[in-house]
Symmetry: C2
């Protein structure tokens, strides 16, 4: 399993992903699920992947044209005119990769070998944009009403984002919110695990504003995790008390 969240704020884009992959609970590894490419001063494009690891790695490798000799590689994402074109290109690669593996294994319909991708980025002269790309290759874009996307194990960490998100929030608050959301998910699902990857991209920066791998011994994550239990308990006690005898 996986947990990744991508968020659009007024200030820019924030992404966080875990790094755990598992094939059964007895076969757990750490793999990066967040990637980015940039042309300094012109564009930055980031993706996070969930789903079949062979599929997502194949997509990333093809994006980087790793089938070619290093000097011949030519990442099409760096030449696309718009983020919409980037999303279309990644969607096409994803669909073809899934389809190819399914066909060569005689798999019909949905299900096996599939993956989803969150795409975030900005190209100079245009807005920062956030997409969710489906295994079928089509995609949706974040909007005012739905300004964040989650992929993988999305449910445990969703209520706090629904309650805490505010598009005017600072990057620091957004990171704090994501830490709480990831902490709730990690506590409930063993197949989502540390370390986490964090990437913050300021609007019109075209560079990672802040990039970090959050390890098991990360002081801030540990502080959030331990303080959140108390803070929640406090919040809980601040609610009105229930009475068996209240008139309603």
């Amino acid at each position: 399993m996986t947990y990744c969240v991508g968020m659009v704020l007024d200030k820019g884009l924030v992404m966080m992903s875990d790094t755990r992959t598992n094939s059964g609970v007895d076969n757990i590894s750490v793999f990066r699920k967040m990637f980015y490419w940039k042309v300094p001063g012109e564009r930055i494009i980031s993706v996070m992947t969930a789903g079949n690891l062979a599929t997502t790695q194949a997509v990333i490798s093809q994006l980087e044209e790793r089938t070619k000799a290093p000097e011949d590689r030519d990442n099409t994402l760096l030449k696309a005119d718009t983020m919409f074109q980037v999303a279309t290109e990644i969607g096409k690669l994803l669909r073809e990769t899934v389809k190819q593996t399914q066909e060569s294994n005689g798999v019909k319909g949905r299900g096996r070998f599939t993956a989803s991708i969150i795409l975030a980025g900005q190209i100079k002269g245009m807005e920062p944009r956030l997409f969710l790309i489906y295994p079928e290759g089509n995609f949706i874009e974040a909007s005012f009403d739905t300004p964040f996307f989650q992929i993988g194990e999305t449910k445990y960490g969703r209520p706090i984002i629904l309650r805490g998100y505010d598009k005017t929030m600072s990057f620091e608050d957004a990171v704090k919110l994501l830490m709480v959301s990831f902490d709730s998910t990690l506590k409930a699902n063993l197949s989502v695990g540390l370390p986490l990857d964090l990437l913050v991209i300021e609007r019109d920066g075209f560079e990672p504003t802040h990039e970090r791998r959050i390890m098991h011994d990360d002081h801030y994550f540990q502080a959030v995790s331990s303080t959140w239990a108390d803070a929640l308990r406090h919040a809980f006690h601040a609610l009105p008390d229930y009475s068996f005898y209240a008139e309603d």
Copy 2:
């Protein structure tokens, strides 16, 4: 979908269930998913159901022997010696009902027509007990380490229970905790819906201590729902702030 939670506290048992059933989002009805039977002063047995409605209604009808004339009915649950026997009996009925419907429809393996049941109750001279019964008819019992069970759409509402549960808590606090958990779930999944059913059974009471249907206009639920957003935001701001520049 459905959301039901059963909890063991030092003081007794607390159960809450929603009442929404749906066959597609365009076919939504209200059905009770919580039932109980009692012998005053001697036993009280409660179940909550999730899954295929025809299956769960068939199980309840058979428990109550509704195939017989009212005067011939003889609920075996009211004669079982132990809660373990009650769980075994319900498990058997559930397995047989699922199996029968699957066989007469040519369905193989897991999946269709299945249901799960939370069983809670106490028989005089023994402890209050809580079970989770699977469609296969086998079951597990709540313990010190896992003192509550959820069925249906369990994920959204789980983190707050994990953080808030304390076996020494009052019934009122437990109800408050469940209201928050249900509110988070209702906010995230349309197929879980009001009204909610609430049942509190005090240890050695052998009667419902408190029983209530929480309707759409319930003042307390509305207060919890609206206050919780603020309380969470407050809790969130009480967490240490993230800094891009911190040494770690």
